[in-house]
């Protein structure tokens, strides 16, 4: 009895001490706005296993340390918008250019033209330097070998191959509401149909019964295809080659009609706390200094800078493929309308 009472007493005291302890610790947890002179803060849309080696190489080259967190393109943009009045980072790194296009409407970026600006083809740079491309990423078809064999098919070589009944409920591809991959895919379909919207939408509606799932992220369907949970899908080449590298038995193919490609960007944020360092990162990332390192770290992007040669094994995959860029002006002018129509007619018929 006495022991119990004693214990209770002690416990009550311990509980009472908790807030004090808490406050003592809070003192340490409140920010010390990590501002060593040579530290740059970045939101990376590229996955950590690609971003980390790039930033380490950057530090080696310039002595500037990069602190970064990785988010999907949508999450990164939502954060940058919410933090607009008091930005937490200096640079938004990687991610499809159309994410950056959405950011321009929100007035997020500080225009900057790095030394490479003039050497880049126009589709790899925003005219005012709101964003600059650091890589190019074509779409591909990726199919599961076992599925193809079991159904007596061949790896799809035409957009129409995907309409085959064998694919019923077995395709996965990205959702246009959330994924730049999907938008690039839809504009590819428009392009091969001579921008005849009705024809393009007829095709997409015909494809709909074969689609098992429209995934939230562009690469969301790669693992299911690798595992055979889905038979095939349309993905960016980086994601597809990554799946293959993990050991999944998949085949990458290209449609004879052609398929689109999308650029990956970088931008300086308006109100950045370390703009000078941010510009240095942009200088480096848009130049052969960074893009020449893609091959070393098995990052299967196509370099945006014309002076960087394509890595041979990647070149072999792309050989003979008909790839066309998506016209930025046309896509920019029609994106919202086309996506809305896709939601209304294809996603929720």
């Amino acid at each position: 009895m006495i022991i119990t009472r004693c214990l209770l007493h002690r416990a009550a005291r311990a509980i009472a001490a908790v807030p004090l302890l808490g406050f003592a610790l809070f003192a340490q947890l409140v920010p010390s706005p990590a501002a060593a002179a040579d530290t740059l803060n970045v939101y990376s849309i590229w996955p950590e296993n690609w971003a980390r080696p790039m930033f380490e190489e950057f530090e080696k080259a310039t002595g500037i340390k990069v602190n970064f967190v990785r988010f999907s393109s949508g999450e990164a943009l939502a954060r940058v918008i919410a933090e607009k009045n008091n930005p937490r980072v200096d640079v938004l790194f990687g991610g499809p250019v159309e994410t950056f296009a959405a950011g321009i409407n929100e007035g997020l970026f500080e225009p900057y033209k790095p030394p490479s600006f003039a050497s880049l083809p126009p589709r790899f740079r925003h005219a005012d330097g709101q964003w600059i491309a650091i890589a190019d990423d074509p779409l591909v078809f990726m199919s599961n070998d076992k599925f193809i064999k079991e159904n007596g098919l061949k790896a799809p070589a035409s957009w129409n191959d995907l309409l085959a009944p064998a694919y019923k409920n077995m395709l996965q591809m990205a959702d246009a509401r959330t994924s730049g991959t999907a938008v690039t895919r839809i504009f590819s379909v428009l392009e091969i149909n001579g921008r005849d919207e009705n024809k393009a939408f007829d095709y997409m509606k015909k494809l709909r019964p074969n689609v098992q799932l429209y995934t939230k992220s562009g690469g969301g369907g790669t693992l299911p295809v690798g595992l055979g949970q889905a038979g095939a899908g349309i993905f960016f080449i980086v994601d597809a080659l990554d799946t293959k590298a993990k050991g999944y038995e998949v085949t990458i193919s290209f449609p004879q009609e052609g398929i689109g490609t999308a650029a990956e960007g970088i931008a300086l944020l308006k109100g950045a706390k370390n703009p000078a360092l941010g510009r240095k990162l942009i200088d480096w990332a848009t130049s052969p200094a960074m893009q020449g390192l893609f091959a070393k770290y098995k990052i299967n992007f196509v370099p945006a800078h014309p002076d960087v040669a394509l890595e041979p094994s990647l070149a072999a995959v792309l050989k003979g493929a008909k790839i066309f860029p998506i016209d930025a002006d046309y896509a920019g002018a029609n994106r919202k309308r086309v996506v809305d129509r896709w939601i209304a007619e294809v996603l929720n018929p």
Partner: protein, 567 residues
């Protein structure tokens, strides 16, 4: 005056006690800062565009026929998850509390039940796809089915029920244990059948608990976005996922926030319904008039076997899912290369070490504060009368009821600018956890206190004990189980939550769950599984410790519920 005395006085106090007033004031200040203020800021953001007031575009989003369908789907899913999860939780709680199981079996059931609760949100969903997809281990390899689809209401429901029913179990088990089985014994000896005793004595006494469990599950399902994100597919959209997509996909923060505010209505409606329904009943079973324990065998032997078998089936499903997870963490690439490796663990203890450290610090701080907040608020709103009591209870539930995405965005907007510049700190994550997951402790405290007769406290005071002493020696031991339930849930959630905190992690503070999500999106199932296994292991250790501590509180006259959390 010692710190203990001061605190006890602050919470106990008599009517018009300045200490109660002070505690109420502090709680209101905290609620205002961490619940009302962020939401108000978000609300302002929804209703303004480029500096001017506007509602333009909101109606189009809110009354779009697909969003209305998503709204209906959300309600349907929450109703089903609430009902099924409460039934399942009751089944387990009843079997555990009344089944006279051997200790070892009890611990095993506890462990299996807690697994889904203590694992990061994506894990069950991923295991579902592995098992029930077109090429799933069960559907294809075992049953040879082809062309099955795993996406939709059924699998979302299945996965959410498995994930959330432990909440019902945790709410109901202490309650059932607290029902004096002498009451049941008396009814039995007066000639009632076991079934009649169950129906007319046990069940009615459990009603506040059932209502609580239903409310918690309903709200949890309504706010859950991780499971539907993976499993709902294209034909069963739900609102939290739609809101998330509106914000992160269509970059429409206003529309997404507006959609989330729509979720507040059903959440509050259920809460009010439950308050009204529960408060009309009388539940006191813990009185001072204690009697010797002459335990009543409330389950017939045949029934006991049936109940145990039902529990075993559910437990086996859970164990199977997690065995799969463990396996995935130990092979090179699940589905492609099944060679054994420890590489994934090496990765998480090198590259992932910072996330592990940060998560432990944050969860370690959120846990005691959240537990304390839970009993303090629960105690005040149940036992003290002050103006705005009901409102306080209602406000304290808001962050729990809202989808995490919205709470996260609201915090980000509210605390990004001076003077309350908390973005990028651990504090913002800790506050988010306390006010988002503390309500479980509040509900547990309220439910337990509703079972305690006022005469106990009155007797103590009548015998000359001061209000502080009464609180310390009578009330505190009685609500300790609720404190530890609250503690446990806040810790578990701090280790596993993602929807709100994905917007609150920063360059200085990151979390394991964010790493898991990242690994899943990068197709690195191995590290994702290894991280999940680690989280489960850590949580189990902490909960075992809580269970040990809880055992110290078996004071005479207090509720014997030593194994509340499987200790």
């Amino acid at each position: 005056m010692s710190a203990t005395g001061r605190w006890a006085a602050a919470t106990m106090g008599m009517r018009n006690d300045p200490a109660v007033a002070a505690a109420v004031f502090v709680l209101w200040a905290l609620l205002a800062l961490f619940v009302v203020y962020p939401l108000a800021m978000l609300f302002v953001r929804v209703l303004t565009d480029h500096g001017g007031f506007t509602t333009a575009g909101l109606a189009a989003v809110l009354f779009d026929r697909h969003q209305l369908r998503a709204f209906r789907n959300s309600l349907l899913l929450a109703l089903l998850v609430g009902s099924a999860g409460t039934v399942l939780g009751f089944l387990f709680a009843f079997t555990a509390a009344r089944g006279r199981l051997p200790r070892g079996l009890l611990t095993a059931i506890d462990a299996a039940v807690l697994l889904p609760l203590v694992s990061p949100p994506f894990t069950t969903a991923i295991a579902m796809i592995f098992s029930f997809g077109p090429r799933g281990l069960i559907t294809y390899d075992l049953l040879g089915l082809k062309g099955v689809t795993v996406y939709g209401l059924t699998s979302t429901l299945f996965s959410e029920v498995l994930t959330f029913f432990p909440i019902a179990y945790l709410t109901l088990r202490p309650l059932l244990a607290a029902i004096d089985s002498n009451v049941e014994g008396m009814a039995f000896s007066l000639g009632a059948s076991r079934w009649r005793v169950f129906r007319t004595v046990t069940l009615p006494l459990t009603i506040p608990g059932l209502a609580n469990a239903f409310l918690l599950l309903f709200a949890a399902s309504l706010a859950d976005f991780a499971t539907p994100l993976i499993l709902a597919g294209n034909n069963f959209p739900v609102l939290p996922t739609q809101a998330y997509l509106q914000i992160t996909g269509l970059f429409d923060l206003r529309g997404g926030a507006a959609l989330s505010f729509a979720l507040l209505l059903p959440a509050l409606a259920v809460f009010l319904l439950q308050r009204y329904w529960v408060s009309r009943r009388y539940y006191v079973t813990i009185t001072g008039k204690g009697a010797g324990q002459t335990p009543f065998d409330s389950i017939a032997p045949g029934m006991r076997t049936v109940l145990l078998a039902a529990c075993a089936v559910v437990a086996l499903v859970v164990v199977y899912f997690y065995a799969l997870l463990l396996y995935a963490s130990l092979v090179v690439a699940l589905g492609a290369n099944h060679a054994f490796t420890l590489q994934h663990y090496r990765v998480i203890f090198t590259d992932g070490l910072k996330a592990i450290r940060d998560t432990l610090i944050i969860a370690g701080l959120a846990m005691p504060l959240g537990g304390l907040y839970g009993i303090l608020l629960g105690y005040l709103v149940t036992k003290k009368s002050f103006a705005g009591r009901r409102t306080m209870e209602l406000v304290s539930m808001i962050n729990y009821a809202l989808p995490g995405t919205i709470v996260g965005i609201a915090y980000l907007i509210a605390f990004n600018d001076p003077p309350l510049e908390l973005t990028g700190t651990a504090l913002i994550i800790i506050a988010c956890y306390i006010f988002r997951y503390g309500p479980t402790g509040i509900r547990a405290t309220v439910a337990l206190l509703q079972q305690i007769d006022k005469s106990l406290e009155e007797a103590s005071q009548g015998l000359g004990a001061g209000s502080g002493a009464t609180f310390r020696r009578v009330t505190l031991p009685l609500i300790m189980p609720a404190f530890f339930a609250g503690l446990g849930v806040v810790f578990i959630r701090s280790m596993t939550a993602i929807s709100a905190t994905i917007f609150l992690v920063s360059i200085s503070w990151t979390l394991i769950t964010v790493k898991i999500l990242e690994n899943i999106t990068e197709l690195s199932l191995g590290p994702a599984a290894a991280f999940s296994v680690l989280v489960v292991a850590i949580v189990f250790v902490v909960i075992a410790i809580i269970g040990r501590v809880l055992r110290l509180f078996r004071a005479p006259g207090a509720v014997p519920m030593t194994s509340l959390l499987g200790g």
